[in-house]
């Protein structure tokens, strides 16, 4: 369950940054991304899957959230 910092990049996409691993990836898709809720399964551009319980109302980025690995 790593702490992940999510921020917007210059192009407007979301970056997924794990400080402990120095991992910085772009988020490819988010399961639920509406005006009420944000979360569910998150797929990164490198193919890895992560999960977070949907948050409502959606968080304001940048922020730090606690994710689960998708395969756990």
């Amino acid at each position: 369950m790593p702490n992940v910092m999510i921020r917007k990049n210059d192009a407007g996409g979301l970056l997924f940054y794990v400080a402990k691993k120095d991992m910085e990836e772009t988020i490819a898709s988010v399961e639920t991304d509406t005006s009420e809720t944000w979360g569910g399964e998150v797929v990164l551009t490198d193919g890895s899957r992560w999960y977070i319980d949907p948050i409502s109302p959606p968080p304001v980025f940048p922020t730090t959230l606690r994710f689960k690995r998708g395969d756990e």
Partner: protein, 487 residues
């Protein structure tokens, strides 16, 4: 020798790896790669930030070097105690040429060495009492000191001293920030973790100090220069460009910087990061907590400077954008003259780099402005995100080497035969004895500054006087030359 093709470069790497035993070969193979600028994610072809192999020559430093030497050391109005035995502080004192203004020993302490000089009894009975005494002594002898940081050396972590408790107690007593930094040398694989620990210490002990204080007048054009350590005056050469654009530089991190500048940084509008590796952590934190955007910029060479100035200006209104164009225009005659003078002398020369932090990718543009080509580059302590950024800057089929060993670097140079090598002091004399022109690119070979338009003039002159130095034709003894001619 012409530039290597992709296959030749691969073959060279294979050939160099042959010297290693199987296990070491397998490990080192992951750190050497041939660049392909189209690859988006470096982790597919190069592995970095791993422990060095025992038995090879590496030029990495330790966490203490990253924290005391790089991040904290240049903050001029604080005393940085090298807490532990005397050597670490003594041998790293003032080696990095972080210039500053002030009266050393009165209101600034940059080139001085403060240490608790651990003895056997301190290891056996603990050094907390000694640290308390030391802090009191510093405050008595140097009453203008604004704060103190305690930079732990290895034994502090090993014997389990509670420097946090001492710092809290003494900080309350003296009413000055006293910052314990857990940067024991054995932590991590290189100085990189030291940067991270130092950033975390700033986050925990410095950044929030003036959160409720509104006495500082904020302006619409406030920026902070982050990750510029003023080596040979670099930060000053960068700062004047930003100020000419109409921006107000509130803080310099950490070259020629002060504690109060750091405390005021959360009030700026934009953080400008030069050295991404050592200070991205704190910038990310400030973005999250205070909503301050950050951007990376590059002040090496006119092409990159113009690019960066425009990118910085894009964050602000039209006046700043117009000013940025004016600044570029103002210096155009100056840098065109430099290029006209040096480019014919340096055109087509090939460079190999092996440095740390930001230089292996940032100086590429400056070399290209002079018509030179970077044929190989590598970092001492980079992580994957650095290589992501590097691979776009570098040409097709150039060599990439992470944490290169002494043996590998020598072999690469023997085969690639570059016209110039830019690396550190530990490589300098080996390559000079091999007859290869060399610049020490950690502290600009005691020259500098290299940032900004002013720095570019010095950079071009230095490269010219190194590459075109007549001494490289006199590397062979005269009697050997005659022999070769007659044979």
């Amino acid at each position: 020798m012409a530039t290597l093709t992709r296959d030749e470069a691969q073959a060279l790497i294979q050939e160099v790896l042959e010297a290693y035993p199987d296990k070491a070969k397998k490990d080192r193979a992951k750190h050497l790669a041939v660049n392909d600028p189209s690859v988006e994610q470096s982790k597919k072809c190069i592995i970095s930030n791993r422990k060095s192999q025992p038995g090879v020559m590496t030029i990495r430093g330790c966490a203490y070097a990253g924290s005391k030497g790089v991040v904290w050391g240049p903050i001029k109005d604080m005393v940085h105690i090298s807490h532990g035995p005397v050597g670490c502080g003594a041998y790293s004192r003032a080696g990095r040429r972080n210039y500053y203004v002030g009266h050393t020993g009165v209101n600034t302490f940059g080139t001085m060495n403060f240490t608790s000089d651990f003895q056997e009894k301190d290891i056996v009975f603990g050094g907390d009492k000694k640290l308390e005494k030391l802090i009191d002594e510093i405050n008595t002898l140097f009453p203008l000191v604004k704060g103190i940081s305690v930079q732990s050396e290895c034994p502090i972590g090993l014997i389990g001293d509670d420097i946090e408790a001492v710092s809290k107690k003494k900080g309350k007593e003296l009413d000055k920030p006293i910052v314990p930094v857990r940067c024991e040398g054995f932590r991590g694989v290189s100085q990189s973790l030291g940067h991270h620990i130092a950033n975390d210490a700033i986050r925990d002990w410095v950044i929030g100090n003036r959160d409720g204080d509104t006495s500082f007048e904020v302006g619409p054009y406030d920026v902070a220069v982050i990750g510029d350590y003023n080596i040979g005056g670099d930060a000053w050469a960068s700062r004047i460009l930003l100020e000419e654009m109409g921006l107000r530089v509130v803080a310099q991190w950490s070259g020629d910087g002060t504690l109060s500048e750091m405390e005021l940084t959360p009030k700026v509008k934009l953080n400008l990061i030069h050295c991404y590796r050592s200070m991205n952590y704190i910038s990310r934190f400030m973005e999250e907590k205070y909503g301050i955007p950050w951007m990376e910029y590059n002040f090496f060479g006119p092409t990159k400077i113009a690019e960066s100035l425009r990118k910085i200006a894009a964050f602000f209104d039209e006046t700043i954008q117009a000013n940025a164009e004016k600044v570029i225009e103002k210096y155009k005659a100056e840098y065109d003259a430099i290029i006209a003078k040096y480019r014919p002398r340096l055109e087509g020369k090939r460079v190999m780099l092996y440095v740390g932090g930001l230089r292996p990718r940032h100086v590429v543009g400056a070399y290209e402005d002079l018509g030179m080509e970077v044929v190989g580059t590598g970092y001492e302590f980079a992580h994957n995100d650095d290589y992501d950024r590097t691979m776009k800057e570098m040409g097709e089929a150039t060599l990439l080497y992470d944490d290169v060993t002494g043996y590998e670097f020598e072999e690469f140079v023997k085969r690639v035969k570059p016209d110039l090598i830019g690396s550190g002091i530990k490589e300098k004399y080996i390559f000079q004895k091999m007859g290869v022109p060399f610049r020490q690119m950690h502290s600009w070979d005691y020259s500098g500054p290299y940032h900004g338009y002013d720095g570019f003039a010095i950079f071009a002159r230095d490269m010219d006087m190194t590459v075109n130095n007549p001494c490289w034709n006199s590397m062979q003894a005269p009697w050997l030359k005659k022999d070769a001619a007659s044979a």
